[in-house]
Symmetry: C2
Subunit: 132 residues, 2 copies
Amino acid sequence: MNAAEMLRGAGVSATGRRLLVLETLVSAGSAVSAPELLASLGQSMNKVTLYRILDLLVDKHILARHSGPDRTAHYCLGTGHGHFHCRRCGRCLCLHLPGTGLDPASAGLDALGRVDEIEVRVEGVCKECLDR
Amino acid sequence: MNAAEMLRGAGVSATGRRLLVLETLVSAGSAVSAPELLASLGQSMNKVTLYRILDLLVDKHILARHSGPDRTAHYCLGTGHGHFHCRRCGRCLCLHLPGTGLDPASAGLDALGRVDEIEVRVEGVCKECLDR
DNA sequence: ACAGCTTTGCAACCATGTTGCATCAAGGCA
DNA sequence: TGCCTTGATGCAACATGGTTGCAAAGCTGT
């Protein structure tokens, strides 16, 4: 499924700007913040447009927004369930955690109210930074 | 253990400002953001002083800082391992999750590098808001 | 009292993100 | 084709959360 199909499948038109943002995120592979996107896209994209596109894509469940360690939102594809934040290089890797026992019922979370989303944030130093 | 003991135990002097911040957080019971603290403390505390005290207490491991949903840091006592964010009332409740299977080895996280901290963020609507 | 340190305050600044409004592009229809 | 409506983009100004530089106020030991 390419970027244009993802957009049309969500019922929004696939404009050039939106494709640019989405393809940048696809090729990034990790979670990226809005300022990082702005920097990598250069002057070719207005920041207001970028923020509006990110809002739209999150609203349409194409992107997931999660809060990074440096108090800026990070964006990545799909509904990631976890992220690893490297304290040294600042990268934010998406985790796909299988079977960590994190369903609301088992943890007794549903006693708190309605649970919409569970995210695991792991902080540390990534392998590349440790080896270097 | 009262606030003054906590401060002296961490090797910092227990000044009036620091006691005020720490006691406010103790009595809050939930995780609080810096702007919320500023509002509740009124004009009696300069915002720079507050941020510096919060930084100090996090550095001394008296407080834990974690990122809220509204891109502001929240602070609570100890090294909480999870938080429940209510999307309706905005409160941020500390969770103490027992045995959710979240140790680095079992989840295969240590293959990523060095893991320093794991935090679980749960989003939803709290019981009080659902009942209302 | 004095020197030296820590703590606090004030003002100005910076970065992230938002709002209001104008403009531009795309599609429908006479 | 020309016109109208609607959605997408851009620009400027603003709002908020947080930081920095520097000065004043408070301790502490001599």
